[in-house]
């Protein structure tokens, strides 16, 4: 179960990070905490950094240092217009995908096409 969740999260983490930053600029540890508050616990918290770097290289995010009172300066991330466009596109894709999966799981497609209904095997003991 945990492995499946990890795989699901891996495929969507970049989108989740963009969405988190879109709400408010934040730094790495804060992002992990916000994701955890929403119920997404990362196996390795540091896995966000390669993704943040990738998003930054693609021009979706911008990083900037802010002096901190309790230690070294913190690197905050904020969303750039290109990142907002990409997030909107990913959200649309995700909504379509999640809707399709939900329908499959509910068995809604079975009613749409009667030809696809296969006879059920008789599992009663003979």
């Amino acid at each position: 179960m945990e492995v499946r969740l990890t795989q699901l999260l891996r495929g969507t983490l970049d989108m989740c990070l963009l969405a988190t930053i879109a709400q408010q600029p934040c730094y790495g540890y804060e992002m992990v905490q916000r994701l955890a508050q929403q119920g997404l616990t990362l196996v390795s918290e540091g896995s966000i950094y390669p993704l943040l770097s990738r998003l930054q290289q693609r021009g979706y995010l911008e990083g900037y240092l802010i002096p901190s009172t309790d230690g070294p300066p913190r690197k905050y991330y904020r969303l750039l217009p290109k990142g907002a466009e990409q997030l909107a596109q990913w959200q649309a894709e995700w909504n379509n995908f999640a809707q399709a999966v939900s329908q499959i799981l509910k068995g809604a497609h079975a009613d749409d096409n009667p030809r696809s209904v296969h006879p059920q095997p008789d599992l009663r003991p003979q």
């Binding site: 730094y27 540890y29 540091g46 950094y49 770097s53 990083g63 300066p73 690197k75």
Partner: protein
């Protein structure tokens, strides 16, 4: 939130230093490397204050974590090659200092670079380059002393295995031999390369005054490091040479 003890702080600092050295070897630009290291150290500190282990941040394999991040930062082999220049400076300074000291003490006209001297210089060079990477072990071994003991044990075990398997090496074998003029030439070349390295370090600064300040600091740092390296190589060579002589390795 908990207050961190010295051991946890050094564990975090060693781990982030190991990542920094790994990124340096992978050829990531210094300005990016510094920022990445700062970000990681900050995260590790905050996680530790929330009673989380470094493993929850970097995972069970810190090298894989460092590599995953490095891949996203466009590493450049040529930039990693820049590490060769300080390495060459240390090696040349070690050889030329050894040659000058030997020529002065033994009053000979020529210097012979033996396999032992080459081994000591190479060993120190590799250690200086790779020792910070031992910080990756910080995830499994909390204290620095345990990690040092593990490394020493690996080294001693390796030497014992080589000895027991009957490996014999002629440590006095002469690899190269040269006289005074070439020794002086090597010393001049070392100084020239050191100037080049200081200029390279200072060239990243934007303003003239910053460059001048950085150049001055680089000269002082590099000179101090090279002198320290030569002293360490010299002292350790004497210790290892005598220990090997007592153990009968030079028969």
């Amino acid at each position: 939130m908990i207050i961190l003890d010295q051991s946890t702080r050094s564990q975090i600092s060693d781990l982030s230093e190991a990542c920094g050295r790994y990124w340096e070897l992978r050829g990531i630009a210094q300005e990016h490397r510094d920022e990445m290291q700062l970000e990681l150290e900050h995260h590790l500190l905050q996680a530790a204050m929330d009673a989380k282990s470094p493993e929850t941040v970097v995972g069970p394999n810190p090298t894989a974590f460092a590599e995953a991040w490095a891949k996203e930062m466009h590493p450049h082999a040529l930039r990693a090659g820049a590490l060769l220049l300080p390495g060459l400076i240390y090696a040349l300074s070690g050889i030329s200092t050894t040659a000058i000291v030997e020529l002065l003490l033994a009053h000979t006209s020529s210097f012979s670079l033996t396999l032992f001297t080459a081994f000591m210089l190479g060993g120190w060079g590799v250690m200086a380059l790779l020792l910070p990477l031992a910080g990756f072990l910080a995830v499994r071994m909390r204290t620095r002393s345990k990690r040092s003991m593990l490394l020493a044990a690996v080294f001693i075990l390796g030497a014992l295995v080589a000895r027991l398997s009957g490996m014999r090496v002629n440590w006095n074998m002469t690899l190269l031999s040269w006289s005074w003029p070439l020794t002086l030439g090597l010393a001049v070349l070392t100084v020239g390369l050191a100037c080049l390295e200081c200029w390279r370090r200072a060239s990243h600064e934007r303003t003239f005054s910053d460059r001048l300040g950085k150049l001055w600091r680089s000269v002082l740092t590099l000179t101090g490091d090279v002198v320290l390296f030569d002293l360490l190589v010299g002292m350790s060579s004497v210790v290892v040479f005598n220990a090997c002589a007592l153990a009968g390795c030079f028969k």
